[in-house]
Amino acid sequence: MTAATEIERAWALLAQVPDPELPAVSVVDLGIARDVQFDDGRLVVTITPTYSGCPAMREIEEDVRTLLAQRFDDVEVRTVLSPPWTTDWITEDGRRKLADAGIAPPGVRMLPLLMQGQPEACPHCGSSAVEELAGFGSTACKALWRCTSCREPFDYVKAH
């Protein structure tokens, strides 16, 4: 088996590691898993935190190591901070899965002052008539918004 195939297998396994706080999406969907390489026979997975204080990082690291250890003998998980994570790294697949789970994916940042952008649509009814309820939500990466059409509140992954 070539190294390239092995790396592909590692990525496929990583795609099965859910984010502990957003279980609808994987660490690959979110862009937390940055790189997979072989270094002298050792599989090195590089991950990056979403926010400086993200309390899920250690759990993610352990989940990644545990799952990859099923196939690879020698696994190392490295954490890097640079370049800093951005919601632009969330994959199209990830955005769709978030919306399916009732969480609005990050929207476009219109103005520098509007740091978190705005949800494109309510994940429940699809209306674009939405308003912010609170700038901070149930996890570091989310804010709380509300749809003024169907009146349902929803989580929103802040553009970051």
Binding site: S52, G53, L81, P84, W85, M115, G137
Partner: protein
């Protein structure tokens, strides 16, 4: 890099750590659920920034101290935070004004630190810059809302400004540590951040219908290890479990 790097990094790292500890005291006590969550989130970001910086400080120091040793096993005279962040929480308006006066500094500092000569510090700062920009949006909104709010909230914000203002100058007073850190391109010179800081603070205070107080004698000394007694109580609270159970893990 050497001693000046350790000292200079502690000044920022400790300021973040102490402020995070102050903010966590609001958890379960804020006036509204949304604000409870907001403060806990902000504290978490700032604690994350502190952890990164303290870990890096320990590596540069090379004496085997990790983030826990630096956070839990130093007494007040070894802390290098600015005095502003150790000031008691007061009421919610007081806390938000203190937060704004800190955020307005952080939002200028982090983007400059993102080009630090130390790549680890630069990496921490690159993340922190985005977080600080989000925090200052929140705290400025509250300063304006409460300053330009009811008669009661306006008076409380005036009183908070009166208390906190003398503590806002310290972060911009250069000493030999800062000069050395700037010369090695580890950090910007503190005084170089002042014009942008003043610009932002004056604009938000104007929106909040709060007068910019005259420049007092700036309270100082925290960055050199001379603290108010408030820090001693804060550290006792923060460190007691770690010190009572040395080496405990779970």
């Amino acid at each position: 890099m050497g001693d000046h790097a350790v000292e200079a990094l502690l000044r920022v790292g400790d300021s973040c750590l102490v402020l995070a500890q102050r903010l966590t005291a609001w958890c379960g006590h804020a006036p509204a659920l949304e604000e409870d969550i907001a403060l806990a989130n902000i504290a978490l970001d700032i604690l994350g920034q502190a952890r990164g910086l303290l870990t890096r400080t320990g590596e540069i120091e090379g004496a085997g101290r990790d983030e826990d040793a630096l956070a839990y096993l130093r007494d007040a005279p070894d802390y290098r935070n600015v005095l502003l962040v150790e000031q008691p929480n007061g009421d919610y308006g007081h806390t938000m004004l203190r937060q704004f006066l800190f955020d307005a500094w952080a939002v200028e500092l982090w983007p400059r630190l993102a080009s630090s000569s130390d790549p680890v510090v630069a990496g921490i700062a690159g993340k922190a810059a985005k977080e600080a920009a989000y925090h200052v949006r929140h705290s400025s909104t509250w300063v304006v809302r409460l300053g330009d709010g009811t008669e009661e909230s306006h008076h409380r914000m005036l009183a908070a400004l009166d208390m906190l203002w003398p503590y806002t100058g310290e972060a911009f007073l250069d000493d030999e540590v800062d000069v050395a850190a700037a010369e090695s391109a580890l950090m910007p010179l503190p005084s170089s951040l002042l014009p942008a800081y003043r610009h932002r603070v004056e604009a938000v205070l104007a929106d909040a219908t709060l007068p910019v107080p005259p420049d007092p004698w700036w309270q100082r000394g925290g960055r050199q290890g001379s603290h108010s007694e408030h820090l001693t109580y804060l550290l006792a609270d923060m460190q007691v479990v770690h010190r009572a159970h040395p080496g405990a893990s779970w």
